[in-house]
Symmetry: C2
Subunit: 135 residues, 2 copies
């Protein structure tokens, strides 16, 4: 059972090979993500991870870990606050803001941070889970 | 130059092989996305596309087509309204709600719909583009 105030953290590091694969399967082959020479001429200096790929760590955690299998994703928002790079250590952090035990819906604050607590993505998710979000 | 009221549409079909690859690279290997036998026992009946992979069509369009290269993604929200399946025709639709020509930021309403106009994902994006969002 997951309750208001519960927290969860999950470490993650993105790899260029996976970013390249995301570009291929999503069709988002903007060179800023996959071409080091192009990225070097931008303010980012190095290829940056797609927002939808770095943010997908939220989906990974919700779908497989917290709450895990049985999760139905209802809503997600994301503020992309700073560029996310490959081969850097990040931590996805979660805190349950509220639980509607009648409708089995949890509202969860989520962020992607580095080990110094700098926030790269912040957002809120709403999930349905018939076993975890109960009285 | 992109102005308030401008619209854009982009057809898309998701493939199971790409959903499987997304599960692998994102780590979201919830069986509802990749295991037909498991999905058959859920209300979805068939594997459903990850919200972060179906929603990534917004990222693809913004990063490569409308506005295209040079886009900096600031914000995205998504309401997941109905399950998205592979091998079905969907249309991503975009309408520019407002443009801040001083800060070069556009607010764009986006949706993923089927050919009958049923909405599967709806959301709003905020993008920065120094060439397209100008006076």
């Amino acid at each position: 059972m997951i309750k208001t105030g519960d927290t969860y953290t999950h470490e993650i590091m993105f790899k260029q090979a996976d970013v390249n694969m995301f570009a291929k399967i999503s069709g988002d082959n903007n060179p800023v993500h996959i071409d080091p020479e192009y990225a070097a001429k931008t303010p980012f200096k190095h290829p940056i991870v797609h927002g939808f790929f770095s943010g997908a760590v939220f989906s990974k955690v919700f779908g497989t870990l917290f709450p895990g299998e049985g999760t139905i994703y209802l809503y997600q928002d994301m503020k992309f606050l700073a560029p996310v790079y490959v081969d850097q250590q990040y931590i996805a952090k979660f805190e349950v803001q509220s639980v509607d035990t009648q409708r089995h819906i949890g509202k969860i604050i989520c962020s992607l941070e580095d080990t110094n607590g700098k926030v790269y993505i912040s957002g809120v998710a709403k999930l349905k889970h018939d076993i975890e979000f109960v009285e």
